[in-house]
Structure formats: structure tokens, C-alpha cells
């Protein structure tokens, strides 16, 4: 079992163990602060991980992503404000439970369901990824271009409310990635004689701009008009703070089904936790005998979305590790971190960095245990502490940390300017309904897609016909067009 070797690799690296623990705590805290997402936290922390060994760096960020998803449920339950989009469905029953004085019970079932879902997703990742990777090993440039093409179309069409805007977001991200030197001829494109643009836009300032600065601008009105209410409703009854075994047993099948939904959605690039939690909530409500009680504050209504949104976490790594395609914002950031540490992501990673990959899975499993234990016993305390913090005191420091993080990536003030500019652009894109995750994922992928396209044509004597001679490539083109067609049809 490779995962045993992964644990051995992890436990022989004390620095990685410390960072897994730190990741669990940081993710929970950031996820629980309304308006601050795990992606924003990771964007700010990425430069600090440049100097760490690959396992510590990747394990740290991976666990922040996991515990951040869970942390979002704390503010959803206590303050009726989801810390992350993934926790939006948890509010439906979580907050009514708090109003009934059962916040302790709600937080405990959220923890149990999150841990259950996350473990389920991680197991799907561990057992599924190697099988798919062995299949994708035979892919050449034409197959890769087809995969990238399908990913762009699928992500663009499913990620937002508008298909046109979703695809435009991916195209904008792809266009931004073309700034700098051409990957084959080495000539400059869109640099406008600016020396700083020769190497292209750096991922970190782009991340800071799109996910930290634009978020601050977006939340600004709410923060200064005090619309984010961080007032926890206190629970007084002791029985309302505990969770019995029979209650867990009652939710077991709900957690299992919701985890399966979350894991399936996680494999699809672009859908993510926010979709999974609502699909699982809707499905379980539909199946329930006590439909009228859903939304009034019942544990099943917390268990379903929480298992689903956490089950997404592991499977989003499947397209990343097998095809080099990030399925979510966090996976897109991780691909950048892999590259910074000189590791090429794709099916060959299981030949070149097997220990690291399974070590990362072990980090994920350990991280789940850590945030589960902390969340179960200290979740209410964390919620009460966050209630004391005022968002208008936190946001100035988030902004300054983002500023320094953008600078520290290449120690360049030009990068800070880029981050500010993309903060403003990102704000307007969000305001007008464009998708920033789609833009980011396309930015990360587009250079490889262009290389694959041009390499295919260089290999080919039949020109663009090379794509039609490859059955796997054709299959991926068909999948892309099928999803697009299906989405257009469902919109109409």
C-alpha cells in the first residue's frame, strides 16, 4: 500500500508535520471569518512556502484548503453568514439550530459530517488517481490539447450563471497567460516593451489581486456599513451542546450519499463545493419523509451539505494529478506551487515524485483528523472568539498582508502594482457576473494548451487533421461540446 509509505514519508519530516497542524488551524480560523475564503488565505501564504521543502509547502496549503471548507460552517451556523461559499447551504438548518439554542449540537454534527465527507473524498482520490494516471500516461500532445480544450469549455460553461460570461472568463485568463515570451520561439508577445513583462505575469500577484484585493473591494460596503453581523446566539442547555451516537447513526446514510455526490462533483472541473452542498441538500430533502422540518433546524440539514462540500476536496485533485488540470481555485494555486518546486504535474508525477504525492495524501488524512478533533472540542470557542473580532479591524491587515505577499513573490514592487490592478479588474469582473476561478484556472493551463496545440501541428503532416486521427482526442472534444450543448439546452 503506497499510502503507508506516504505516512512514513510524512512522519519522517517533522517540518511537514508542524505545517500540517498549522494548516488545519489557519484554515479553520480563516474559513470561519465571514468574507475571507481559504483561497484568499492560500494566495497570501504561497510566497512564504517558497522556502519550505515541497511536502511541507504542499501539505500546508492542501490542509488549509480542507480545513477552510470546514471552517466556513462555523460562521454559517453561528452568525448566519457563510465563511465560504461552500457553507452557504449549511445556513439553511445550521442557523435555525443556533436560534433554538442548539449551536453546540449543530457545530458537532457539522464537524462529524465534514470529517466523514473529507475522508470519503480522500479515499476516492487515493484509490482512483493511480488507476486514471496509468491510463493517461500514453497521452501525447494532441490528446493533451483535447483535454485542455474540453476543460476550458466545461469550466467556462458550468462555473457561472452565464455560459457566455463563463467562457469569456476562461478566454481572458488564457489571453493573460500569453503575455511574455512565446514558449516555442522565445519571442515577446504583449509586453509593450516593458522589461518586467518579459517573463509573463506572475501567478502570486494575480492571485492576490483577484482573490484578496478584489474581495476586499467587494466586501467593503458591507464591512463599513456593519452588515456582517458577528453576534453569536448563545446556547444555554447542556443537552443541546452534545451529539449522541444515535444521532450520528441517523445521519450515517445521509452522510454517505452526500459524500458520494460531493466526490462525483469534485472530479468534474469547475463545479466545486458550492454546487455540491446545494445538490446534496436538495437531494436529501427530496428523499426525506419529514420534508417540512428541513430548514427549521435539524441535524440532517447540516450533515448533508457539510459531508458533500468536504467530499469535494480530495477528488478535485484527480484531474490535477492525472491530467495536470486543476478542478478548483485551490487546485490551480497548488499547480503553481508544484511548478515552483520543480515538479511537473500530470500522470508522470507518479513516476517522478511518487513519495511526495502519497505523502501529500497522508498530509490530507492527518489534516482531517486534526481539524476534526480541534473543531469538535473547540469549534464553539473559535466561533465566540471570531465574534469578538470586528471585520473593519481585520480587513486593513488583510490588505497589508496581501500587499507584502504580492511583493515577496519576486521581491518586486511592479508585482504589487499588478496585484492592485487585478484587484480593481477582478472587482469589476465580479460585479458584472464574470468568473474569477475560471479566469485563474485558464491562466494556469493556457500556456500548456498552446504548447500542446503547436507541438501537435509540428508533429502532424495532416495539419489540424491530427486531432481527428486520435480517438481519445476526439472523445474529449465530444465531451466538451456535449457539456456545452447540455448547458445551453438546460438554460433554454
Amino acid at each position: 500500500m503506497e499510502i503507508i509509505n506516504g505516512f512514513y514519508y510524512l512522519f519522517s519530516n517533522s517540518s511537514a508535520l508542524i505545517f500540517v497542524f498549522a494548516g488545519a488551524v489557519v484554515g479553520m480560523v480563516v474559513g470561519a471569518i465571514p468574507g475571507l475564503s481559504a483561497a484568499a488565505a492560500i494566495a497570501m501564504i504561497v510566497p512564504a512556502t517558497f522556502y519550505l521543502d515541497p511536502l511541507s509547502a504542499l501539505g500546508f496549503l492542501y490542509v488549509i484548503g480542507k480545513s477552510g471548507r470546514y471552517g466556513g460552517s462555523i460562521s454559517a451556523i453561528l452568525f448566519n453568514t457563510p465563511g465560504t461559499a461552500a457553507a452557504a447551504a449549511t445556513m439553511q438548518d445550521g442557523y435555525p439550530m443556533t436560534q433554538k439554542g442548539q449551536s453546540g449540537k449543530a457545530l458537532k454534527i457539522a464537524t462529524v459530517a465534514s470529517v466523514f465527507g473529507d475522508f470519503f473524498g480522500e479515499l476516492v482520490l487515493i484509490f482512483g488517481v493511480a488507476i486514471i494516471a496509468s491510463w493517461t500516461l500514453s497521452f501525447g500532445p494532441p490528446e493533451y490539447f483535447a483535454v485542455y480544450f474540453a476543460a476550458f469549455v466545461i469550466i467556462g460553461s458550468v462555473i457561472g450563471k452565464s455560459i457566455t460570461k463563463g467562457i469569456l472568463s476562461t478566454l481572458l485568463g488564457a489571453l493573460l497567460s500569453l503575455i511574455g515570451m512565446d514558449p516555442i520561439t522565445g519571442e515577446s508577445r504583449y509586453t509593450f516593451n516593458n522589461y518586467e513583462l518579459e517573463n509573463g505575469l506572475n501567478l502570486v500577484p494575480l492571485l492576490i489581486g483577484l482573490f484578496v484585493f478584489s474581495e476586499i473591494l467587494f466586501q467593503f460596503n458591507q464591512v463599513i456599513t456593519d452588515k456582517i453581523k458577528t453576534v453569536a446566539v448563545k446556547s444555554n442547555l447542556k443537552t443541546d451542546n452534545s451529539l449522541s451516537f444515535s444521532e450520528i447513526k441517523k445521519c450515517f446514510m445521509i452522510m454517505l450519499r452526500s459524500s458520494a455526490i460531493g466526490a462525483f462533483i469534485g472530479i468534474m472541473p469547475g463545479l466545486g463545493s458550492a454546487v455540491a452542498c446545494f445538490v446534496a441538500y436538495g437531494e436529501e430533502k427530496r428523499r426525506a419523509k419529514n420534508k417540512e422540518e428541513w430548514g427549521t433546524g435539524i441535524i440532517e440539514g447540516v450533515a448533508a451539505p457539510e459531508s458533500a462540500n468536504n467530499a469535494v476536496s480530495g477528488p478535485t485533485m484527480i484531474p490535477l494529478l492525472t491530467l495536470g488540470i486543476p478542478g478548483s481555485t485551490i487546485a490551480a494555486i497548488l499547480i503553481g506551487v508544484f511548478l515552483i518546486h520543480g515538479i511537473q504535474v500530470g500522470p508522470t508525477i507518479f513516476e517522478t515524485s511518487k513519495e511526495l504525492v502519497y505523502g501529500l495524501f497522508a498530509c490530507g488524512l492527518l489534516g482531517i483528523v486534526i481539524y476534526g478533533v480541534i473543531g469538535y472540542f473547540f469549534g464553539p470557542l473559535l466561533g465566540r472568539t471570531i465574534a469578538l473580532l470586528s471585520p473593519n479591524m481585520i480587513y486593513p491587515f488583510v490588505l497589508i498582508t496581501g500587499f507584502i505577499a504580492a511583493y515577496s513573490a519576486r521581491q518586486s514592487l511592479f508585482d504589487v502594482g499588478v496585484a492592485i490592478l487585478f484587484g480593481i479588474i477582478g472587482y469589476f469582473l465580479r460585479l458584472t457576473g464574470y468568473s474569477l476561478p475560471a479566469l485563474l484556472i485558464a491562466f494556469v493551463l493556457a500556456k500548456n494548451a498552446e504548447e500542446a496545440f503547436r507541438q501537435s501541428l509540428l508533429l502532424s503532416e495532416a495539419g489540424i487533421g491530427i486531432f481527428l486521427n486520435r480517438p481519445i482526442a476526439i472523445s474529449f472534444f465530444i465531451i466538451g461540446f456535449f457539456v456545452l450543448f447540455f448547458k445551453i439546452k438546460s438554460k433554454n
Binding site: 521581491q411 492592485i420 484587484g423
Partner: protein, 167 residues
Amino acid sequence: MINFKILKNYDVSSGITLLIISLFLLFEIRLAEFSDISTGEGAIGPKSAPTYLNITIILLSILLIFNSFFNKNIINNNSKFNSSLVFKKAQLIAAVFLYLFLTDLVGYLLSTFIIIPLLLFIFQNKNFKKNLFISFVGTLIYYIFFIKILGLHNPDPQIEFFEVLSF
């Protein structure tokens, strides 16, 4: 006569913006001269991907604008224009640019000390003395953590006098 009210429709305004930008970028790449003529043109040249991308963006922008005239469920900017909030947001953006300018001019330490109270004020924390104290402690923590522990390069100030604060 042009009815500028149509620009309040986000689909139209964003579509027009993207159309202008991608037209400019299309001309820019088509007019660019690459030293290697054999790879400059055709499907495998450096012009190919930007050309295809820009053409697709132009077509989709036109589609977006066109659809907005027929789609009744479009996002309209119907929110009341709150000049005070817009002004505060502009202050925030100006403060971030000021921070960038000051960091270049006087270095990281002093600029952070100046900008924290300003940002706290913009975020409606109006107690000046408290803000100053928070700024002092905050700057110290940032300095120790980023410069001393993480070993971040402290940008050299343009004004030599302030190099004394760069340590």
C-alpha cells in the same frame, strides 16, 4: 442620438469593454513583427493562439451585447448610486496606490507605519490614538515576521535619508 442608459446594463458595458480591448490586442498581435518569419505566421507561429483567442472574444462579446437586448433576466445596475460609498472605495484604492508609492520612496517600514492608520480610518475606525498604537504594534509584527523571520528583502528607499530605517 446615443442612449447612454444602455450602459447601465452590465452585459452591454462589459461586452463593449471586452470588444474594444480584444480588437486592440488583435491589431497589436497582427501588426507585430517576429524575427523568425517561418514561425511568425500560420497555425504554429506565435501569432496563432492570440489571434484565435481574440477573434473568439470579439465574437462572444458581440453575442453578449446582442443577447442583452433580448434577454429580460439580465443583471441591471439598478442599485441607487451612493456617492459616499463610491468615494470611500476610491479612497481605499488611492490608499493602496499611496502605499505602493511610499514603499518605493521611503521604504517598507515607514510606509507601513503611515498606511495602517490611514486604512483603519477608511474602514471607519476613527479613534486616532488607538489607530496609531495599532499601527506601531502592527508594523513591528510585520517587520519581525516578514523581514527578520522570513528573510524578505526590504525595498531600498528612493530617498537615501530613509535608508537608516531599512536596517
